[in-house]
Subunit: 341 residues, 4 copies
């Protein structure tokens, strides 16, 4: 069986695992006040080109989203997100469980459009006695999106502009950031993401770590008493250095970038294989998630060779499907899959 | 430097780490639906002597407490706990952040007394029009307690009795369960804990794992839709098998018990050393946490050799301190410490 | 100035006020355990044709919605509602502030359609490992809707059917119930509402009371410990008898029905006047809210005579507006308005 | 039967009721944007001697406490209160339901002591890595307290001092403020309360209104977007002018003060009667709540004449009881009670 279900099906990249083993017997203080976490913080800030700024290492993506959004919103504020956003669909209501409303706008290939945001917010502020609607107080996007698509620098700058206009922080969910940055069509760097967002997170879990996400901000004043809030959310790792060690490894010798490039290269070959064999793209994704529309009998047939996800309910004759690559995907895997098409 | 600050300062027991390395390259489904998690579940249920029952693997203790208590309490219910309880003092208000009141009773060497619980609950139910006080709806204790003490089987049975009388689930926080079970004076087994509680958790983080706690219940009907609630709390690990692999290793060939026994043996030697040298016990703990009252100048002197925690504010001339052992503590460590006294 | 802004601009119907004055000097026990509240409960249950059932008197609509929905939903459940629903748009995020997600479906003239609900819920239950989406666990509709429209008995029965199929309570927000029942095209009675819903509320604030809403259920087992939850929400009136006195008056000698009929009659005359003068309906409402599309200069002109609300942002040349009648609207008011058109 | 159970057993003071009747037929805008609310705000600010400041009218005390505390606390902050505080004991967990921990200190005759607060807060700030305990971020006291006692100006100033030292707002619950100000031993005025607190509320429900409490602050910047938060809590009255009319009446011609004086005078006569007849005070209260220790058979006997509350569980031979006076208590009531002793 060849595995294309998702990018969380295998352990950590060997270089990450190696460092965990090497450091296993060392004693450090707990709760992320150790030297490995310090090192990870430095390396990440440097990679982001941030002189000033802060980094917080958390265990997972739903957690990172919940804690950051809880921090950025006041009691009676809402977060603008695409209707397809991970926080809106796949996080079991975590944002609402903290008391915050998600204000959804229709997605365009998984993305929000700056104009839609502006129109929504302008409409809210039109009536100054409007105390009974939820105030749109921050914007959530993901890079890449749930559909594997990426924002151009221009699109991000436009959203940044609306955020500045209405004084709303922009938060970028980077669960699969490595793959978004490695896309051939990407015109943004890690530094651009750091600069254009107020807060974002660098995904570890889906990008080569055992687990872990690095929340980064160029504006630490937006996250006051954040260490305490992380604990309140049950998101504090006692042996915090586990996250420090992993992110330190990922940001040594360009490992994070190289993981991204490898998976995207595999994904592009996979896409090319499907296209050559005449299958239709469900969406044209430049990152490690690839979406095709397959006949149902072909789906059944392929299941003998590879595991992958249906993307939505089974259609009458054909159904969208998703194939995902990661650091562990080999060229042989991809070729075997294509051969089985 | 010899480290006695806490039991989360070093990585995983080598046998746990070994299994993580061995399984690192394998593909499994995510979110705890993998075979390693199944294996851990089986081994744990067997070790608990539970034929029926369920096990859920979570990342950390604050999280486990928050999710379990959120599940066991209705909107307007409270949890009875000792004033010294971890949930009341050291979890940043996590229980309250989920909307639940902690109803504290005075501790007796870190423990709750069955009679105090009965009196409190009886008083609540005395007036049937009592709609405006918070209903005591579950009991939280820890085994061992924050002060290293343990409940006798008789004490647990008495609390169980009050819980049955008023139909309140009993939840046991077992962050350091291995050490409580390994105490020489302990008269309860893992099976007793499973039987006397409704829900409890087996601590991994502080007992030899990298991280992870196993929530166990003999009454799965008390935790409906728990997998979804875990996600809502941001407590779901994408690569869930990491927890499965670790707990499977801990429950193979008696590793969990042996970790407990080792640390307690080291703690007993450490205690004997302090006592022999004439230092006063702050409390007489039979587990891996040891508490002494030391002169402040001795504290300063010892800091050159060993790291440990002050237990409360610095006194005028002497101060309570805590020394903690774990799987990595060696006899040489303990002897060097005693020599430095 | 003639007032058509809303139905909360004037005090209570004189008969209600009279009873408040008459009873003002009497002593009763507090918190709704008094005899006036008992009387209101009996009268309401009788009017609803419920032998078994319960009634709770609350202060306002946002409160009633928040408390009922908080009670009917488990921690990780959501409520299905139209995108135009009052709880989704005009309650400042009260539902989310209690931790619950609103699962919105597109409205059809303010109403939900049974088929849309069935499709959404069926899709949720399609995949039984679907633990990370919010479970649709109840349905919220209002009668009449935000747009003044009403459900037919057949439409309600169809929604009831979906609710039964998936074991979801149906909750009806009756903030303007008097006007919905009094509509000429209405084919449901108060008894039907009580029977087709699991829980609903009879609006007092907008239907002749100073303030107050009566939550009614034919299934009291759905609202366990509700009195305590009401208090937790800060929704308990110390002098609870004020609500008892008012609802008792409203349900004496058909006052509630007669208030509904009067306001609807005024609204129908008002609509006829606009239509005769050639103005376009924004929506054809059979209840006390009337919506027209008026040229912007006509709007400016009318403001000298009457107060009313713009329904949305000012259009380029014309804008939807709303006129609302209530117990205090007189025929003279309506005629003066029409004369000013 | 003569009623001494509480101060919420009868309607509004006749002068308040009269104004509600007079204004009943008038049209005003809703939600507290009306001229009566403006008038109440002006009168209250003037009575408080505040040139700058703001006033918000809410429906009830539990509500006022919940909304104010929710506004003053950040997500992971706690409120310091006496263990006997109304918010800690009698509000069904409302504060915790909004996610906030109550940090209790032992009461001294119902009161907090400045030194206890200082010690607690100093201990919290002792360790600057203390991220996992709940930050004490505001202080809640009531004037008068649950036990009818009052703070002296010196005591209030001392608490104010601690609050200033640690930058914590001081919030005073004035559910029975009229009676506290009217106490013979009181050395604070309404102006002092306004000046020494950051936020407080003037109780209406228990002091002559039908219902309603006026939240007052000399520092409006502490309550940003408060109108929206009130709505989110379901605490917004659609016909907001009802509160405006009542508070306007209470603050016309010294009515609020005179209600306080009358009830306290009645309470003092009542106390004198009990003392003369040789009964023991449970606590020496200078306000409208009076507490005695009565033999159980005397309690049974008195119940034929008067209604009153047991203050705690029935003792073996004697039990504390509470008698409460209000605007409606007459000298004849008090004399009849004393005669029955």
């Amino acid at each position: 069986m060849i595995y294309f279900d998702s990018d969380y099906m295998v352990g950590a990249h060997p270089k990450v695992m190696e460092r965990l083993v090497e450091t296993n017997g060392l004693h450090t203080v707990g709760y992320g006040r150790d030297e490995f976490t310090d090192e990870a913080r430095s390396r990440i800030l440097q990679a982001c080109g941030l002189e000033r700024g802060d980094v917080f290492l958390l265990e997972g993506g739903t957690q990172a989203n919940a804690v950051v959004i809880d921090r950025l919103l006041d009691h009676n504020d809402g977060v603008i997100a695409a209707d397809t956003a991970h926080i809106n669909v796949h996080e079991a209501g975590a944002i609402e469980s903290n008391g915050h409303k998600i204000l959804t706008l229709p997605n365009c290939e998984g993305k929000l459009r700056a104009d839609d945001i502006r129109r929504y917010v302008a409409d809210f502020y039109r009536d100054e006695t409007n105390h009974y609607m939820v105030r749109p107080a921050m914007v959530y996007i993901s890079y890449p999106t749930e559909l594997g698509t990426i924002y151009s620098k221009g699109e991000l700058a436009a959203i940044r502009g609306v955020c500045d206009e209405y004084d709303m922080p922009l938060y970028i969910d980077g669960a699969r950031l490595a793959y978004g940055l490695a896309a051939e069509t990407a015109d943004v760097t890690l530094g651009d993401i750091a600069e254009l967002s107020d807060v974002f997170y660098i995904g570890g879990t889906k990008c080569g770590a055992l687990f872990g996400e690095a929340v980064v901000t160029r504006r630490p004043e937006l996250l006051p008493r954040f260490v305490s809030l992380i604990k309140l959310h049950g998101a504090t790792l006692a042996k915090g250095r586990l996250l420090g060690v992993q992110f330190s490894a990922l940001f040594t010798d360009g490992l994070y970038e190289s993981i991204g490039r490898h998976a995207v290269e595999m994904a592009m070959r996979l896409k090319a294989g499907f296209v050559e064999k005449g299958y239709e793209l469900y969406i044209d994704s430049p990152t490690n998630q690839q979406f095709f529309i397959l006949p149902n009998d072909k789906i059944d047939e392929l299941k003998a060779t590879a595991s992958f996800e249906l993307w939505g309910p089974l259609g009458e004759r054909e159904t969208p499907v998703r194939f995902v690559t990661d650091w562990a995907t080999t060229l042989a895997d991809v070729e075997a899959l294509i051969a089985a098409l």
